[in-house]
């Protein structure tokens, strides 16, 4: 659906069903350079099983207008504005990678709006190599290649796809190369408040982590899990791009957690 947030047209996927704010809402937040399509195989299940789903594109990303947001803190503020614009008072919040950092900010600013918090392929801080940021500023497609080569696990690198006939690396590359990747990466690199916020939060939490994650290594993810007192699921054979490369397993862990609340 399309809605106005701070005067800008914003797109949010609703999982193939009309958004209904009277149902429990699950908010899906994409990672650096990505968009709502990262959640294609999670959102539809929730939308068809008693939830309402919102998977927005951040400003300046894919189908949303506006300038890209330059800090994780400001992304957290924008998420609150977005929920208000959609008429949502409370939501289960799910974030992938950088998306989870902004989810932390939302939970920190408005704990009353967060029913639960789930991080997928993430950590309390996501340092970014300055060379990657410089590349993203000059040749976004090359930076996307660098990230996807690191981001996808071994099976995806060999062309294995959860959706018959598709090539997730090419899909991710096309999306990331056309979005403000450098701005997102800088926001990630500059964000340092994650660990302290995680320590203070008191919200049901879950982390779904990848054993072969080279972007947010498992060790860092587990440390975040300790701080959050989160339920942790590790998918040992996959890489950082869990929502895309292991959609079925990610969904299974996610629905088990949210359904249990």
């Amino acid at each position: 659906m399309e809605l106005q947030v701070n005067g800008k047209l914003t797109f949010a996927a609703t999982g193939g069903k009309e958004f209904d704010s009277s149902l429990p809402t699950v908010l899906f937040i994409h990672g650096s350079g990505m968009d709502h399509r990262a959640w294609a195989l999670q959102t539809r299940w929730f939308a068809f099983h008693g939830y309402s789903v919102l998977a927005p594109d951040f400003p300046g990303h894919s189908l949303s207008e506006g300038d890209a947001i330059e800090s994780i803190e400001a992304m957290g503020v924008w998420l609150d504005d977005f929920l208000s614009a959609a008429g949502v008072e409370k939501a289960h919040v799910v974030g992938h990678s950088q998306g989870f950092l902004s989810a932390l900010e939302l939970a920190h600013n408005h704990p009353e709006k967060v029913l639960s918090l789930t991080g997928i392929g993430t950590a309390a801080a996501i340092p970014v190599n300055p060379a990657l940021i410089e590349t993203a500023e000059v040749v976004p497609a090359k930076a996307a290649d660098m990230m996807l080569q690191w981001g996808f696990g071994p099976a995806a690198q060999y062309g294995i796809s959860a959706v018959p006939g598709m090539q997730p690396i090419a899909i991710g590359r096309q999306i990331m190369a056309n979005n403000p990747l450098a701005v997102d990466l800088k926001a990630c690199a500059n964000y340092e408040a994650g660990a302290a916020i995680a320590e203070k939060l008191d919200v049901p939490s879950c982390l779904i982590l990848a054993g072969k994650d080279r972007m947010t290594p498992l060790k860092a993810g587990k440390a975040l899990g300790v701080a959050l007192k989160a339920q942790i699921t590790v998918l040992p054979e996959f890489g950082h791009m869990l929502p895309v490369e292991a959609p079925k397993q990610s969904l299974q862990a996610l629905r088990a957690f949210i359904s249990s609340l």
Binding site: D145, Y158, S161, Q174
Partner: protein, 435 residues
């Protein structure tokens, strides 16, 4: 490396899309010779039908063996996804009917395969889709042909059988400026010699029956979604940007973005038209693709040696191959095909049609048949076979003459090919003398 994989092309050809399965460790891709797939439970069945998860329902839509071939070809071409079909012609038909509806218009190169020309000028016309044929490297002609209802610019990477190389960079620039995608039949090129998506092409179609398979034992086609066209910004494709009623009002572009075309084809064309590739054919075609680059090197080397040898023969009146300076698109071929512009060679023999017929009938090694791209050398007289349904004007526009002999140069030892052709040329000379 392609846009879909960080492996090199030869590794992709052997490995992409399949890792040894866990139950038996089969190193080769198994043939899943099944029509359908048992659901875990009703809930999972419902999830599959709602596209809540990926997976297989019925082999008309998807099949695990076919999916390996699709993912492998997508990776070779650098596309976001691929759909395999029963034949190259069904791949083209599905492409045209996915992107066009009644009242729409296509711009096509005049120099294309005869059956494709018939599809565009007659069959699709019955369904209200019109076509304007142009000299595809004439950018002004393309611009002049664009109408409000134009949806596609279509060409072959190397025209059949005129062997004119399409200037993909220029064609894409012209088409994209007008908000039009470029669809290409890249059968004569294969991703081993040229990757059209890297030049801006948006949809790549192959008859995988030909060089991709190489063995001549299985018919098949594929459509590769380049994932590199903004269907919404174009404003010409409600098929992809507006709600699709049979799937809960899904908007393919919003939902799938770079794989919108492939997903629409899967959801609509494979379901409704049913031109599915069989798992056994997919397995056979995978065997061919494993050696694609090795074969293409030999195909090109043999084609170069044969064309140069033909030029020296006294009763050969003309020889055409894009790598010859006399080919009018030689410069384009040099730029787009640094490894060589394929293995199709056309030539004429003195004495016209009768001499040409005598040449073909005298061959022992070269096979007279209606196919190209086998590992074996194949010959044909297009004017009386593949392009016989064309009007004289269409034949001329397609670069086809009465005396044309089309050769798909195989990978046999070139000495044997030349010996066979020498025998044929002697027969042609006798026929020319007798007439």
């Amino acid at each position: 490396m392609s846009r879909s994989s960080y492996l090199q092309a030869d590794t992709i050809a052997l490995h992409s899309g399949y890792q040894p399965e866990s139950d038996h460790g089969s190193r080769a891709v198994p043939i899943y010779q099944t029509t359908s797939y048992v659901f875990d439970d009703v809930s999972q069945a419902s999830s599959l039908f709602n596209v809540e998860q990926g997976g297989h329902i019925y082999s008309r839509m998807t099949n695990p063996t076919v999916a390996v071939l699709e993912q492998r070809i997508a990776a070779l071409e650098g596309g976001s996804g691929a759909i395999c079909t029963a034949s190259g012609m069904s791949a083209l038909y599905m492409t045209f009917t996915t992107l066009c509806s009644a009242g729409d218009h296509i711009i096509s190169s005049a120099q294309i395969y005869g059956s494709t020309a018939t599809l565009l000028s007659h069959t699709l016309k019955r369904f209200g889709i019109s076509c304007t044929f142009v000299a595809i490297n004439d950018q002004d002609a393309i611009k002049a042909a664009i109408q409000d209802n134009t949806k596609i610019v279509f060409c072959e990477s190397i025209g059949n059988p005129g062997l004119e190389v399409s200037d993909l960079d220029a064609i894409c620039a012209t088409a994209h400026e007008a908000g039009l995608p470029v669809v290409i039949d890249a059968t004569f090129a294969t991703p081993s010699l040229n990757r059209p998506i890297e030049h801006g092409v948006n949809i790549v179609v192959h008859s995988v029956t030909k060089w991709m398979g190489g063995h001549g034992v299985a018919v098949g086609g594929v459509v590769v979604d380049g994932g590199n066209f903004d269907w919404k910004a174009s404003g010409r494709f409600p098929e992809l940007t507006e709600p699709y009623a049979p799937f809960h009002g899904i908007k393919f572009w919003d939902e799938f973005g770079p794989s919108a075309v492939a997903m629409r084809m899967r959801a609509e064309s494979m379901r409704d038209l049913g031109a599915a590739m069989s798992p056994n054919s997919a397995f056979l075609l995978l065997q061919g693709i494993e050696t694609l680059s090795l074969r293409m090197k030999q195909h090109v080397a043999n084609a170069h040696e044969l064309m140069n040898w033909l030029l020296e023969q006294e009763n050969v009146s003309w020889v055409n191959h894009p790598d010859l300076e006399t080919n009018k698109t030689h410069d384009v071929a040099t730029r787009l095909f640094p490894k060589g512009a394929g293995s199709m060679v056309c030539f004429g023999v003195e004495g016209g049609r009768d001499a040409g017929a005598a040449f073909i009938d005298a061959l022992q090694l070269g096979s007279n048949l209606a196919n190209v791209g086998d590992s074996r050398t194949l010959v044909l007289h297009p004017g009386s076979t593949t392009h016989s349904r064309l009007t004289p004007e269409q034949m001329a526009a397609g670069g086809i003459s009465e005396d044309m002999i089309r050769v798909s140069v195989g990978i046999e030892d070139i000495k044997d090919i030349k010996a066979d052709f020498a025998n044929g040329l002697r027969a042609a000379k006798r026929a020319a003398g007798a007439s």
